[in-house]
């Protein structure tokens, strides 16, 4: 019962992350959505081994461990690259447009 619950939670987390990635705008929301999708995938990995609580699957644990490190490195790179985007100073029209949204 426990493993099925966590499988459903993993797919829900992945779906929420995917929806937020497609719908929300702006670098931070997209990076957060990618991270939540990653957490959903890790939970899916780990819940497949919970179907047999006495026989733990260590290969999935190792893969998730590697995946967590790569996810944080990818987040750092994404934030670095986003900071290098040179933005023009906002003209008066663009500022009034920004305020109206």
């Amino acid at each position: 019962m426990q493993a099925e619950l966590y499988t459903i939670c993993a797919v829900i987390l992945f779906a929420l992350g995917l929806i937020a990635f497609l719908v929300r705008d702006g670098v931070f929301h997209k990076v957060l959505a990618l991270n939540v999708m990653g957490i959903g995938i890790f939970m899916l990995f780990l819940s497949t081994s919970a179907f047999y609580p006495m026989a733990i699957d260590s290969v999935t644990h190792a893969l998730v461990l590697t995946g967590i490190i790569v996810a944080v490195a990818g987040t750092a790179l994404a934030l670095n690259l986003a900071a290098q985007i040179k933005l023009e100073p906002l003209s008066k029209e663009q500022k009034s447009c920004d305020k109206s949204h």
Partner: protein, 236 residues
């Protein structure tokens, strides 16, 4: 779309269609995952049969550094590439240590007490990974936490283009290659370590991996913050 702080909203019909498609896909995925014949438990038996050959008794460490050691080698190469990619964004930072001691004395005392403990805990986590949950990745992450504690007091190590830091970034790959060469000459098989020394070789690789992971993650943290303006004195 890629501006850092734009708040445009999408048309509601598009939002509804995205939600509908993703819900349909996830419902199908849940249905497929809850079938009877999807999961099995063969991996446990396979690992437990041969774990005495690896010299460690923690199955996750054995899998990471003995059964799937090729994946770990490539993982260290990925972290090395990340450290190269984050280096150009680092801006130098100058601090004033006298200012810290006088102005924030409670924070200073707390960090002075905690940082040596965290370093000790990281060394313990590295050693205990052979027979209890732990290992190189966790130890490296703890060392990065010590670096983050120090940066609460604006003490940052920013000379990351010096030879010492470049050695730190590549230390895991260097030690890994030494271990692979020794393993090749001892057993004439690529990526196979001799059974009696396997535990020691795994600790050797993990020691270098801890330092490299800590250095790379600390560099990631420093490079994201950008430039800060302070005066006088330089801590490196």
């Amino acid at each position: 779309m890629i501006e850092p702080f734009s708040e445009r909203k999408l048309h509601p019909i598009l939002v509804l269609s995205v939600v509908a498609v993703v819900s349909l896909i996830s419902a199908l995925l849940i249905y497929a995952l809850l079938q009877e014949n999807v999961h099995n438990n063969e991996m446990y038996n396979l690992v437990m049969e041969k774990i005495h050959l690896t010299g460690v008794s923690n199955p996750v460490t054995a899998v990471l550094l003995s059964f799937r050691v090729y994946d770990t080698l490539l993982e260290f190469a990925v972290l090395f590439c990340v450290s190269i990619a984050c280096l150009p964004y680092l801006k130098l930072n100058k601090i004033n240590i006298q200012h810290i001691k006088i102005a924030h004395s409670q924070l200073f005392t707390l960090v002075k007490a905690l940082v040596p403990l965290v370093i000790l805990l990281s060394g313990y986590m590295l050693w205990v990974g052979s027979f209890k949950p732990g290992g190189a990745f966790q130890a490296g992450a703890l060392l990065t936490g010590a670096g983050l504690l120090l940066s609460l007091l604006n003490i940052e190590f920013t000379k990351t283009r010096s030879l010492f830091w470049r050695l730190l970034f590549s230390l895991s790959l260097i030690f890994f290659l030494i271990a692979i060469c020794y393993g090749y000459f001892a057993t004439s098989t690529f990526l196979l370590f001799p059974s009696e020394l396997s535990g020691g070789i795994i600790l050797f690789i993990e020691f270098a991996a801890t330092l490299s992971i800590a250095a790379t993650l600390y560099l990631c943290y420093l490079s994201v913050r950008g430039r800060k303006e302070r005066e006088v004195g330089d801590a490196s």
